[in-house]
Symmetry: C2
Subunit: 133 residues, 2 copies
Amino acid sequence: MASLGRHLLVEMWDCDSRIDDVETIGRAIDEAVVAIGATLVQSHVHRYSPQGVTGLAVLAESHLSLHSWPEYGYLAADVFTCGTLTIPRRAVAVFEEIFAPGRIEVQEIERGVQVGDSALPKTIGSRVAHPTV
Amino acid sequence: MASLGRHLLVEMWDCDSRIDDVETIGRAIDEAVVAIGATLVQSHVHRYSPQGVTGLAVLAESHLSLHSWPEYGYLAADVFTCGTLTIPRRAVAVFEEIFAPGRIEVQEIERGVQVGDSALPKTIGSRVAHPTV
């Protein structure tokens, strides 16, 4: 049973105050993209008032997101990739190093699980992932 | 047991060809944001070569994403919201109307589930969601 995408949902608690810093969130995204072997198309980091930061990155292989709740020391990360060339779990090590969470939980969910006729492409094409940005 | 966010993972199969259209993906994001009662901060839609579209939206309440694999008739959606004012499941009806999937699966995952000391804010603040963009 094959799947089109892999999706890591990462829960990080007891993070330090850097989860409220725009530059650090941006750096975490950039470093995570490199670590997992993905290709960045575009990223955007937004800081809320009075606190909290969201970072979102469009990847050639899907997306990566970070959302922080500094008042709870909580950071949520999603790493959604397609294809077989990326190693999404490497992003977790990047987040651990940068945000030093006291507790971390990682859940992996297969996206686009192909069953029955869904395993057959509807059109002729050689694309496995999104090979060309 | 409270949580900071709700995350819908939506799997849609047997979608029509509009999942490969940039304008339609953009419209679906805009309509879904309105339907769930969220506030759009910024969105970006990207088309891959030879096919496939990604749409990502930063929300005041977290994010919304769409990724399509037209060759499989497959569309993946994520609706991640915080706070209690949004109704994320309303996005599913928008996607159903626009993309007419033959099969749809919706999984809801609580993000930032607060247990023990995590339920106590680390700093004084009245933020429930991200109230101010």
